[in-house]
C-alpha cells in the first residue's frame, strides 16, 4: 500500500442522526444533496452509484451501522487513477447539541506530496477525477 491521502470534512446539522443517516442510504434523499440520480443498495457489498451529468461515482457499501456510521467505496469507471472501489469514504454521525455532527473522511486518495512530476501529475489528476466525479453540479 502506498502512502495515501485523505480528505476530511465535517458539518453540524440541526437534526438528529436518525434523520440525517438516511440521506446516505436512500437514493431519493441522496440526490437532494449529491448527484442527480442514485442507485443505492445499502447493505455491505451493495451497490453505491451516483451520477452527476455524464460523470459517475461507483462503489459499494463497505459497512453500515445505522445512525452511527456508514462507509462506501468511491471511484470512476474507466479511470486508472481512481478505479471504482479505489478509495473509501467513511462517514460518522455523532449526536451533538440535539443535532448531528457529520464527519466524513475520504481515504485512499493518491498521496500528493511527491517530488516526481510524473507522480505528482498522476495523483493530482486522480484527485481531480474524484472531484469531477462528485460533480460540480453547481447552479
Amino acid at each position: 500500500m502506498t502512502t495515501t491521502g485523505e480528505l476530511v470534512a465535517a458539518v453540524h446539522i440541526d437534526a438528529p442522526p436518525e434523520t440525517v443517516f438516511p440521506y446516505f442510504t436512500d437514493a431519493e434523499l441522496m440526490v437532494r444533496w449529491l448527484g442527480t440520480t442514485a442507485k443505492l443498495d445499502p447493505t455491505p457489498g451493495g451497490v453505491f452509484a451516483v451520477d452527476v451529468g455524464d460523470s459517475s461515482a461507483r462503489g459499494t457499501y463497505v459497512s453500515l451501522d445505522p445512525v452511527h456510521s456508514v462507509a462506501f467505496t468511491w471511484g470512476m469507471p474507466g479511470s486508472d487513477t481512481l478505479p471504482p472501489g479505489g478509495t473509501t469514504v467513511e462517514v460518522t454521525f455523532t449526536p451533538v447539541d440535539g443535532g448531528t455532527l457529520v464527519t466524513l473522511i475520504h481515504r485512499g486518495l493518491p498521496a500528493e506530496h511527491r517530488r516526481s512530476h510524473e507522480e505528482g501529475w498522476r495523483t493530482f489528476l486522480g484527485k481531480l477525477t474524484a472531484a469531477a466525479v462528485g460533480g460540480r453540479s453547481a447552479s
Binding site: L7, A9, Y23, V102, W121
Partner: protein, 124 residues
C-alpha cells in the same frame, strides 16, 4: 476579485477561470500529457506535437482547448508561439477539489434542515 487582468503576455488566457472548463480540458489523456510536457518550460507547438503520434492538427486543437480553459499561456518568441502551463488554473482546480466534500456536506445540511424544519422555540 478586483485583480488587474493578467498581462498581455498571456493574451490568450481568459479573464475568468471556469472550474467546469478546467475539468473538461483535463478529461482527455492527450491534453494531460501536453500539460505535463509544458509544466516546467514553455515549448513551441511543433515540439509538443513531436511527442505524440496524433497529427499536429489534433495537437493544435488540444492546445486550443487548453488555452480556452485557461490552463495554458501562449506567448510569441519571434515567429514561434510558446506554450506553458498556467499554474493558477491548477490551483483553482485544486481549490475546487478541496471544497468538494465541504460543499456537498453544506448541501446536505441545507437539505436535511429544509426537509425537517425545527423552529427556534422547542415545542413542548
Amino acid at each position: 476579485m478586483p485583480e488587474p487582468a493578467e498581462k498581455a503576455v498571456s493574451a490568450a488566457a481568459p479573464e475568468a477561470l471556469s472550474a467546469d472548463a478546467v475539468f473538461k480540458a483535463l478529461a482527455d489523456p492527450h491534453r494531460r500529457q501536453i500539460l505535463h510536457l509544458v509544466q516546467l518550460s514553455a515549448l513551441p507547438a511543433g515540439q509538443i506535437a513531436a511527442q505524440f503520434e496524433i497529427t499536429q492538427q489534433a495537437v493544435s486543437l488540444h492546445l486550443t482547448v487548453l488555452k480556452k480553459a485557461g490552463l495554458l499561456t501562449e506567448r510569441r518568441d519571434g515567429s514561434r508561439r510558446l506554450y506553458q502551463l498556467r499554474p493558477e488554473a491548477l490551483r483553482l482546480a485544486r481549490a475546487v477539489l478541496d471544497e468538494f466534500w465541504p460543499d456537498a456536506l453544506a448541501r446536505l445540511k441545507q437539505a436535511v434542515e429544509a426537509d425537517h424544519p425545527r423552529g427556534d422555540d422547542p415545542q413542548p
